[in-house]
């Protein structure tokens, strides 16, 4: 048995799976104290069950996300080593930021050293300000972590925690690494408390099974391993829903996933059955980060979008003025249109009709025609956004002639729709997009199911510079010497070994280690017309997907078109 729990903003969904199939589901209100609803939900799920049969627990939590959104975070002393380049005024504006001397160039060669005296002075300042959490980030630290580590060594005694940039991502993007490091340090304390509580909770229930936390990339991480990198667990909510929908696909196709909520519709796309990741990382509360996350596009159209008629014609959203008129809301919504058209039945039909009538009067048409127009415009807007998203993915810049000419183009043939209005809009959306539309079964707990079945994912970046005889996998803190004849194949081999170790440490099981090379470049370095070395860049990942043993496509649901 697997227990999957998705702690959302309003509801906590919990599911119990047996033989990878849904056995039981519950929905309870989310409360301020996250653990109380957990206890309540699991008590219900386990009624009459043998807890010893439980193999694992997967939690998707809004803990870090909420802390950031509600600003319940720690003050962080940010120690930056930006060197020359972008003007400091263009970096993310964070409080308590201090710019250190020191400078690495793009090959990781030290041009200027860090000044120990400056750090001594900062220690005093941090003490006076009572700042106990630090973020240390240098430009191009991913090419050479030495300067960041030097600062860490000098400052660690002055803080409860210091997040170090190079451990959080191997990608190049200094401003994003600054934001990522800041957020990690800022939620470290509150998240650590959550980990302790969660561990106490399973202990209390007498469960002796691994506990996993869902990450933004739709993969899981063993809870103790997540404690130092809490920022990876932000925005795991949308990831849970996408993984839930992915569970309904056959696992190999190009497909579109739509989650139609009250205010917004989230669009995600699968390429050959793999959910797409954000190019650089997820964005939260205006902070652009390097956190691997599933790519979603959110548009301001949902079942409760306010409908207006004016000079520009019919306007659907992007604001939500309240629930549907049928449920006592203030104005007409797409949901009311669906009620009038007999595509949905909820709330008070009379109120829905009245709202549609008032809109019809503005439009100079009949109630039925107005409802039809609202319904069609809603579907048209969603379909247009889906098409834009697919075009954006297909037009993503590539940097080699090979990719330019041979690059895969997405051509989804199936559309998966979840959310309240899903059954009503799926057939029309399918027609507009030229896809077969599917509404998966148990869509209301797809998120918890998705979380329950997600496998552990990990990524790492190998950078080898044979001229400098050095190889680094900075996220893992690895810097080793290499011989001059070191090759791209050697880099892939070492990378795969280290990724395997990393994934196992994070809680993966051997059979789920589907490792793939996602970036692979080797450049001859020529100086004065002769080869002086090779510059090798390899990125590997464990693909987002499901734990092994699951039978693919078992929960297909209704094909609507």
């Amino acid at each position: 048995m697997i227990l999957g729990i998705d702690v959302g903003g309003t509801h906590t969904d919990a599911v119990l799976l047996e033989d990878f199939r849904l056995k039981r589901k519950v929905k309870v209100q989310t409360e301020e104290n996250l653990l109380a609803p957990l206890l309540k939900a699991t008590a219900e799920l386990f009624r009459g069950e043998d807890p010893k049969k439980l193999k694992r627990v997967v939690l998707s939590t809004t803990m870090s996300t909420n802390a950031i959104v509600q600003r319940k975070i720690e003050r962080v002393g940010m120690l930056l080593i930006p060197g020359p380049g972008l003007a400091p005024g263009l970096l993310p504006a964070l409080p308590d930021t201090h710019v250190l001397t020191g400078y690495l160039n793009h090959r990781g060669i030290e041009i200027a050293a860090v000044d120990p005296l400056q750090l001594e002075g900062l220690k005093d300042l941090l003490r006076r300000e009572e700042i106990r959490h630090l973020g240390i980030v240098g430009k191009f630290c991913t090419r050479n972590p030495r300067q960041e580590l030097a600062v860490f060594e000098m400052m660690k005694d002055a803080a409860d925690h210091a997040s170090v940039g190079h451990r959080l991502s191997g990608h190049l993007n200094f401003p994003r690494r600054v934001s990522t490091t800041y957020l990690n340090a800022a939620v470290w304390k509150i998240y650590r408390r959550f980990v302790e509580q969660a561990l106490a909770f399973v202990h209390e229930r007498g469960l002796n099974v691994p506990i996993y936390i869902l990450k933004a990339d739709g993969g899981t991480i063993e809870i103790r391993q997540s404690a130092e990198y809490p920022v990876q667990t932000i925005l795991s909510g949308p990831a849970a829903s996408i993984m839930g929908i992915l569970h309904a696909t056959n696992g190999r196709e190009d497909a579109i996933a739509l989650d139609i909520g009250g205010t917004t519709t989230d669009i995600a796309v699968f390429a050959d059955g793999v959910p797409l990741l954000e190019a650089f990382g997820v964005t939260i509360e205006g902070h652009r980060t390097l956190i691997r996350g599933l790519r979603t596009k959110s548009i301001g159209v949902g079942g409760d979008s306010a409908v207006r008629y004016g000079d520009g014609g019919l306007q659907i959203g992007p604001v939500r003025a309240g629930p549907a008129a049928a449920l006592g809301g203030p104005c007409a919504t797409p949901t009311d249109a669906m009620i009038v058209l007999n595509l949905a039945s909820l709330g008070n039909r009379g109120k829905a009709e009245a709202a549609m009538q008032s809109l019809a009067d503005d439009m100079g048409t009949t109630r039925l025609q107005a409802a039809q127009a609202v319904f069609e415009e809603t579907c048209r807007k969603i379909a247009a956004s889906v098409q834009d998203e697919i075009a954006a993915i297909n037009n993503k810049p590539v940097y080699t002639i090979h990719e330019m000419l041979q690059g895969k183009r997405l051509a989804p043939e199936r559309l998966f729709v979840v959310g309240g209005p899903a059954p009503a809009v799926a057939p029309a959306l399918g027609r507009l997009l030229g896809c077969t539309a599917v509404v998966p079964d148990n869509a209301e707990v797809a998120n918890a199911v998705g979380a329950a079945l997600a496998r552990t994912t990990a990524e790492l970046t190998v950078h080898a510079d044979t001229e400098r005889r050095s190889l680094s996998i900075v996220e893992e803190g690895i810097v080793i010497d290499i011989p001059p004849q070191f090759s791209r194949d050697d880099a892939v081999r070492i990378g795969s070994e280290k990724l395997r170790e990393k994934a196992l440490r994070m809680g993966a099981t051997g059979e789920d280690l589907e490792i793939e090379v996602i970036e692979d470049q080797s450049f001859n370095m020529i100086r004065e017309y002769s080869t002086t070395g090779r510059n090798i860049r390899v990125k590997l990942q464990v693909k987002p997907g499901f734990v092994s043993g699951r039978v693919e496509g078992t929960e297909h649901g209704q094909e609507e078109a």
Partner: protein, 437 residues
């Protein structure tokens, strides 16, 4: 620093899988460190910097700018179609007002490719700016365009293509041709008889620094642009004037490049040469992108940047001032010079020997221009290369006058196949390209 933010399009195509040969300066590694710097600085995250995927140029687009022997498909590889396509994408985004300006950071370059193409010269097969310019004119009806070639090498290809076009102002600033490839680009090359002054060259002495480049910009380029009033300004943006470039001798810096682009404010910049791939390109490109986007570039500098050691001598300063003054005077006298150049002749001939250093081809060419006061003038080209290919081309300019058209069409009909492998007819006015085999 208070600057006006602009929306800047970036077409980045480093062609990480293409090289002229493994150890050639124009190789896979060339934009690798530029990519690293651009990514690490987070430039693609700015809301006003938008990255676009390049399109693929077509042979029909190349045929508007070139006479390719035997044909366009025969002289290019996919890489050229992508770099020309990248320039076209940059232009489209600007012309459709999706962005205020755009930078095509693409390779391979193009500014040494001339009107007739028998092969590759100066690392260039086809002229990506010219292909872009012809696209802009065909697609958007733009007439007056200025190309400011800031590559360290004379933009001889672009000059050759627009030699007889009074509507395309080509100003090239470069290291003196007596000291550097391609050995041309002197002040006395200032356009064909119907387009005098539309080609201008400002050769600069070796070791010219930021001060010298900016002097020419302020005292020659900007005033002449003010008079010419182009609808579109293009920077043919080579980066080999940098003080670390291995194959040139200038002392320009990343700060200088950024300031030049801020002042010139090109609508479109297209990367040309620049082979100091580690020490210059990462910083110069970041500087140019920030300057075009109207963002603060004051903190961009090379690791070994030391302004006092890069200062130009007084002697160089005086030479630059004198050259600038002479070029300005030439520009001001462009109308009266026409009589002197053409006299009573009805046609003017120009003989050229062109060496294709990259492919080792030698070409002999005779160009004949009809002296015309109503249009750019009919052009006829007789070209033979030591590959054995000899071709003849009749070219009608845009807004061709009736007489030039009738003459040109007549010549194309009458010319005997004889020893010519192909006879070409490029009618720019009607966007027609014909080849008689």
């Amino acid at each position: 620093m208070d600057k006006r933010k602009r929306r800047t399009g970036l077409v980045f195509f480093p062609a990480f899988d293409w090289a002229i040969s493994p150890s050639h300066p124009e190789r896979e590694e060339r934009l690798l460190y530029t990519q690293d710097q651009v990514f690490e600085e987070g430039l693609l995250d700015f809301d006003n910097i938008i990255e676009y995927k390049p399109g693929l140029a077509t042979c029909a687009q190349i045929d508007r700018a070139h006479i390719c022997v035997p044909d366009a498909a025969g002289v290019v590889t996919e890489s050229h179609l992508i770099s020309a396509g990248g320039a076209i994408t940059a232009a489209d985004k600007v012309m459709k007002k999706e962005v205020d300006n755009a930078f095509a950071l693409v390779r391979p370059p193009g500014h040494h490719a001339m009107l007739v193409v028998h092969g590759a010269r100066g690392f260039c097969n086809v002229n990506i700016e010219a292909i872009m310019i012809e696209h802009i004119r065909t697609q958007y009806g733009v007439r007056k365009i200025a190309v400011i070639d800031t590559d360290c090498h004379h933009g001889d290809g672009t000059q050759d293509i627009y030699w007889n076009d009074p509507d395309t102002l080509c100003i090239s600033i470069h290291q003196d041709g007596r000291t550097l490839y391609p050995g041309t680009g002197f002040r006395d090359e200032f356009g064909g008889p119907n387009a005098l002054g539309a080609t201008l060259n400002v050769p600069l002495p070796p070791r010219t620094s930021d001060e010298g480049f900016l002097y020419v910009l302020d005292n020659v380029i900007l005033p002449i642009l003010g008079e010419f009033q182009p609808e579109i300004v293009i920077n043919s943006a080579g980066q080999d004037n940098h003080y670390t470039d291995p194959i040139t001798n200038m002392r320009f810096s990343a700060q200088g490049y950024a300031l030049l682009n801020e002042k010139l404010a090109p609508d479109i910049a297209v990367l040309e040469g620049g082979y100091s791939i580690e020490k210059a390109l990462p910083y110069v490109n970041v500087g140019i992108i920030l300057a075009m986007a109207g963002l603060d570039y004051s903190a961009v500098r090379e690791p070994d940047y030391d302004p006092p050691s890069l200062r130009q001598s007084d002697q160089i300063r005086r030479e630059i001032e004198a050259e600038s003054q002479a070029v300005l005077e030439l520009w001001q006298r462009r109308e009266e010079l026409k009589d002197k150049v053409a006299g009573d002749a009805r046609y003017v001939k120009r003989k050229k020997q062109i060496y294709y250093d990259t492919d080792g081809i030698r070409e002999y060419q005779e160009e004949t221009v009809r002296i015309c006061s109503d249009c750019g003038g009919l052009v006829m080209i007789d070209s033979i290369a030591d590959t054995g290919n000899r071709i003849y081309a009749v070219i009608l300019p845009r807004r061709v006058c009736r007489v030039c058209r009738e003459n040109g069409e007549g010549i194309y009909e009458r010319i005997q196949k004889g020893q010519y492998r192909h006879i070409y007819f490029q009618d720019k006015d009607n966007d027609v390209f014909r080849v008689r085999p």
